[in-house]
């Protein structure tokens, strides 16, 4: 956690890609209901889950890319770049919305059984599609599974301001953002959605804090100064918190499977861990502890990052927007298949393997496009090893996603 660590410009920190890739796999796995594999994801050993990892790393890499762009080409250019990204995310969101609408329309009209009258409420927007589509265009329509992109879009829209403040004083954004987070926890401020008058699944006013923490940490790669405390005490405290929370979460899971096993502190803690919408403080603390502990154990030059099994994960992290969208579509499709055909354990394994395989294939395809675009016409494609090194070399121009 020293300022010098991984400060070298131009070398891509593969840890960011690796953990973002991993969080994308976990988001896919967790999005398939009743997926047995989801017991082996992040959320089984922590109050936080893959969403926190994704948003934190997105904040970090956003500063990495746009912060440097700001230094080199000025604020206007960086802002334009950010808004180009916002536009891509927005288009992706609308695409997912269309797929989701198709799926709901199909399911609703196929079921339309009075026995499921309460469930049919999910299709209420079909009765007022003119309103639903307009709300979708304004990010206000967030049916299930379509919640993290609107959050990311709103966070990036405010990002030029964060960059501007970061350059005034490194801690300025985090202080403002922290105060807003506290106000949200105390006053319950939240934007509302359609249908009906509900909070966003991920309240951007709360989640912005994690994004800004990530962005502030990422700024250390721009100005070379680590903005947070970095003593050994912090490392040990974080490890202690991580282990403590993991033991509690595991005890809850054990209790789930085997009733006589006591769920440690469940009465005291459970209510403080379920508020994902507003990023409950316990979730935030748990995640930050895990982040610090991870940085302490996993160095930028860790050997496993260069192992061949880690490479597909890293690749997915490097192309995270597309891989994320593919993952969401696949988890929706995967569950649809499990429900329609049959949900046996074998079929589940197939859906998991095919889904993750398709995510990796998407990343490979994008990598191939990029590499093909770089090499002179007519030349042979590079080997996997070499193109990976090339990807590391050209890091500053990498996309932030």
């Amino acid at each position: 956690m020293t300022a010098a660590e991984g400060m070298t410009r131009g070398v891509r920190d593969l840890r960011l890609d690796f953990f973002r890739g991993l969080s994308l796999f976990f988001i896919f796995i967790d999005h398939i209901p009743e997926n047995l594999l989801s017991y082996f994801t992040f959320r089984s050993v922590a109050f936080s889950d893959a969403a926190e990892v994704f948003i934190f790393i997105s904040g970090f890499t956003a500063t990495l890319v746009y912060g440097r762009s700001f230094e080199e080409h000025g604020g206007l250019y960086a802002t334009a770049q950010i808004y180009r990204r916002v536009w891509q995310l927005y288009v992706a969101h609308i695409f997912l919305f269309v797929i989701f609408t198709a799926e709901v329309s199909y399911a609703i009209f196929a079921v339309r059984n009075p026995m499921y009258a309460d469930e049919m409420g999910v299709g209420d927007f079909l009765e007022a599609p003119h309103l639903a589509i307009i709300r979708a265009l304004f990010l206000g329509f967030q049916p299930n599974f379509l919640d993290i992109l609107p959050l990311y879009i709103v966070l990036l829209m405010g990002f030029p301001l964060v960059l501007f403040l970061l350059r005034r004083h490194t801690l300025l954004p985090i202080v403002i953002s922290g105060l807003l987070y506290i106000a949200v926890q105390l006053r319950g401020w939240a934007p509302r959605t359609f249908p009906a008058d509900h909070a966003w699944f991920f309240n951007p006013l709360a989640w912005q804090f994690l994004f800004v923490i990530g962005a502030t940490a990422g700024f250390s790669r721009v100005n070379g100064k680590w903005p947070f405390p970095s003593g050994q005490w912090l490392k040990y405290l974080s490890i202690a918190i991580t282990v403590f929370c993991a033991i509690i979460c595991l005890s809850w899971m054990m209790h789930w499977f085997y009733d006589p096993f006591p769920p440690f502190l469940a009465k005291q803690l459970y209510n403080h861990t379920i508020d994902k919408t507003n990023l409950a403080p316990l979730r935030l603390i748990n995640f930050l502890a895990i982040a610090v502990a991870t940085i302490a154990f996993v160095k930028p030059d860790s050997a496993f990052l260069h192992k061949s099994w880690a490479w597909p994960v890293i690749l997915c992290g490097q192309h995270s927007l597309y891989v994320f969208c593919v993952g969401i579509v696949l988890s929706v499709l995967g569950h649809f298949l499990l429900a329609e055909l049959y949900g046996g354990i074998f079929m589940q394994a197939v859906v998991n393997v095919v889904g993750i395989g398709a995510m990796i294939a998407t990343a490979l395809l994008l990598e191939w496009f990029k590499a093909a675009g770089r090499r002179p016409p007519g030349s042979r494609p590079r080997s996997r090893q070499r193109s990976r090194q090339a990807a590391i070399r050209v890091a500053p121009s990498e996309s932030p996603q």
């Binding site: 799926e103 499921y116 409420g121 499977f257 085997y258 469940a266 046996g344």
Partner: protein, 255 residues
Amino acid sequence: MIRYLALIAVFLFAALTPGNRVLSQEIAPEPVPAACSVPHDLIEDGPRLPALARRFHAKLPITIVVIGGASTAGTAAGGEGEINAYPHRLEEALKRRHPDVPITVINKGIPRQSAQDMVARFAQDVLPHNPNLVIWETGTVDAVRGIEVEDFAAAIQSGAALLRQHKAEIMLVDMQYNPRTSSIINFEPYLDTMRQTADLEEIYLFRRYDIMHYWSDAGSFDLVNVPKGKQADLAEEIYECLGERMADAIDYAVR
């Protein structure tokens, strides 16, 4: 008891008998209620209802109020009034099993209500009946509307506290299962919240979702391909089976 393992058993069962559903469609188009049995673990799991047990033993009159949504109101099953709804089926089953205990089941199902909406009507719909047991079916509308799980948990906790204040014992009932709706509605967090909250508050949870899931996987019922004319028949059968299984649950909890 071993929670959730039953569900895994269901998966294994489904995995080992892939053609089961098709087979059952062909040879048994109209399953009889006897076919709707479930593994014991799905029923015999959770805290007991000691006060209700004492009333059963003493053969004192028992009042049960069922509060819930559209599936509790049960109009989908047709018939006069609530005659085919699961609360009435439960009443029939209990009376048959305990002929010497005067049992009344009151149906207070109203469609499209969240857990919080229901708590708000406890005062006029539930408490005036001085129920010994309140069966509270909830969660569907909360999941459909994407109400914050924290608010959902808080509603259940406040509702449970209110009922206990009035000396009523509680049985929670979770959502209905349908393969199609479960892929478009994110039930998982709400199911988890209900299980955790029931566990923490020591409330018996009637796992309707897992039970119907089991029926669907085992081929007892085809919940997806229902011809228009057969919808009411299916609802009637499901409600009858749910009434029986709920009576099993009460028998377990008052044992």
